[in-house]
Symmetry: C2
Subunit: 328 residues, 2 copies
């Protein structure tokens, strides 16, 4: 009995699905499951997740649940609440006033005290530190290329939250003055170019720029254009699709070179849906990074894909939040 293994639950809250996994410090999984996110009630969702976790633990007599980590939008790691989430408005009611107390509610339904939460990009950085390529690093940056561009920044062997708690908004660094219109109501933000949606926008621009290069993507409605389709065409040899990744990597590499001047990280790790394009996005990013890097940093910064990218990164990142909390 004394040799039971400590494990944690990693939970990734999405607008449609919730991913749940039980994992130990050495990245062994003891079970994982994807459930539909119950949009009717936050309390019901916590009960669903808790039941799922208890079921997995019941089947493994040699583990003990030490904590839970949650990756979620609008997560406040300090208050341990989800605050006014735009995509989960149906959970808000007059009682909770849009502030969802993650810690108190999981304590009630799951019966454990160690609860940690943070946004996806920060969870990804904790995941890379705990399980991935950054295990021995004190200064590194994880870039998540999804619908937008997020970042988790490690400095002094700690995640950077800054004065407001919302540091690392690297998707909103302006890389093209007067450039593309961004959801933040400004123009030229990095994430309007370097993200899954950014790649789709670039493809429309490239098709507009040069009609002489044919591609089956000219038959795709702009509303349905996606980085996934462009990736598939690039693999089949489509010149315009390959150029689309080159353009994206050129801008991303330039941005990473600028970020290096700020904190001089040991490495950048790229993750998120668009990172699954692998060398198609990584190679032009590295080429542009090296070409644009200021001389004192040359040869001293690694740019690589996340080492946990293909190992259930959302659950591992969330689990790492719990381990980090346990280490405090």
């Amino acid at each position: 009995m004394g040799t039971k293994k400590n494990v944690v639950a990693g939970v990734d809250l999405g607008g449609t699905h919730t991913k749940i996994g039980i994992v130990d410090r050495d990245m062994n999984f003891y079970g994982d499951k994807v459930i539909n996110t119950n949009m009717n009630s936050f309390n019901q969702w916590v009960q669903d997740v808790s039941t799922c976790i208890k079921d997995i633990c019941k089947n493994n007599q040699d583990i003990v649940l030490a904590g839970l980590g949650l990756g979620a939008p609008n997560a406040n790691p300090f208050t341990k609440c989800i605050e006014s989430p735009a995509n989960l408005q149906s959970w808000a009611n007059t009682e909770n006033k849009g502030i969802l107390d993650v810690k108190a509610t999981f304590e009630k339904y799951l019966g454990i005290k160690t609860i940690a939460l943070d946004n996806d990009a920060n969870a990804a950085a904790f995941g890379e530190k705990c399980y991935g390529g950054a295990k021995k690093m004190k200064d590194f940056i994880v870039i998540t290329l999804g619908t937008g561009l997020g970042a988790g920044i490690y400095i002094h062997d700690q995640l950077v939250y800054g004065y407001t708690g919302i540091a690392g908004e690297l998707g909103h660094v302006i890389v093209e003055k007067g450039g593309r219109f961004c959801g933040c109501r400004r123009r030229g933000c990095l994430e309007t170019y370097c993200s899954a949606t950014g790649v789709a926008r670039t493809m429309l621009e490239l098709m507009a720029d040069d009609r002489s290069i044919d591609t089956p993507l000219r038959n795709v409605e702009p509303n349905k254009m996606s980085s996934r389709l462009i990736y598939e065409e690039a693999l089949k040899g489509c010149e315009l699709s390959k150029r689309c990744f080159d353009v994206t990597g050129e801008i991303l590499g330039r941005a990473l070179a600028d970020f290096t001047c700020f904190s001089s990280p040991e490495a950048f790790f790229i993750t998120g849906g668009l990172a699954r394009s692998g060398d198609l996005i990584l190679n032009p990013t590295i080429a542009s990074f090296e070409a644009n890097l200021c001389f004192p940093y040359k040869g001293k910064v690694k740019v690589a894909l996340s080492e946990i990218m293909n190992k259930n990164p959302a659950i591992l990142g969330a689990a790492a939040l719990a381990w980090n909390e346990l280490d405090k």
Copy 2:
């Protein structure tokens, strides 16, 4: 005897002059002096500085020298050496191989153990933290506008050195793709616009752009154009000179807005020669900063002039290095 006051020596090493001051924790000066930097020999320079410090201490029976801080180009705070300084090549010889051991040499001639050193921009950040507007802040950035643009970044209540030790090279963030040629052999770096030399370059551009606006500066040889002259003309009402500061502030404010996305500092403090232009540079910087800041940070970041700027900042910054070392 038991009530002697602890003081430290702050030393600022310049290519022509060396500034020396003795100061306590409450910013009281017990003496200060400017001597010519002896360019013949590093050892002789250390002896000159040590003699000067001993003379000041001799005249103050109620103080005790607890440490020395040195602000110097190419200072390595970890090895406590000045390494291959471009502007002090005459100090290099076959014996020291261009590595000047500041700690060992001051220990020998001054007889104290606590020696700290760092570059000017980092010393300015330590100075603002110890004596200036950042006393109660854990996350802030000091920007020095001199010949170039330097930065000292505080995160987690510590200065950021990064993996290489040379973080904070914000003068080399690229703000204009394909812009002005920089000493780092790239184009468009922030310091080619926002620095004393940057302002002079902007004035040449403005004169080239619009010949209809007259200014006495059209009679100044480009080689002699300086931020000081432009400042003086702006005070006299010269439209083009005022526009020159507006252009500089516009670019600086945009850059500070981008930096905010990275570390979410509580404040930016601006110092260095160009900062002495006061509102002429500060007002357009703040206007541009507020206009360009991403919404989550609005109203949460202060942009101000250094609060020690007019109080011998080079000596105070160097002294703060010594206090920081004593606090370790």
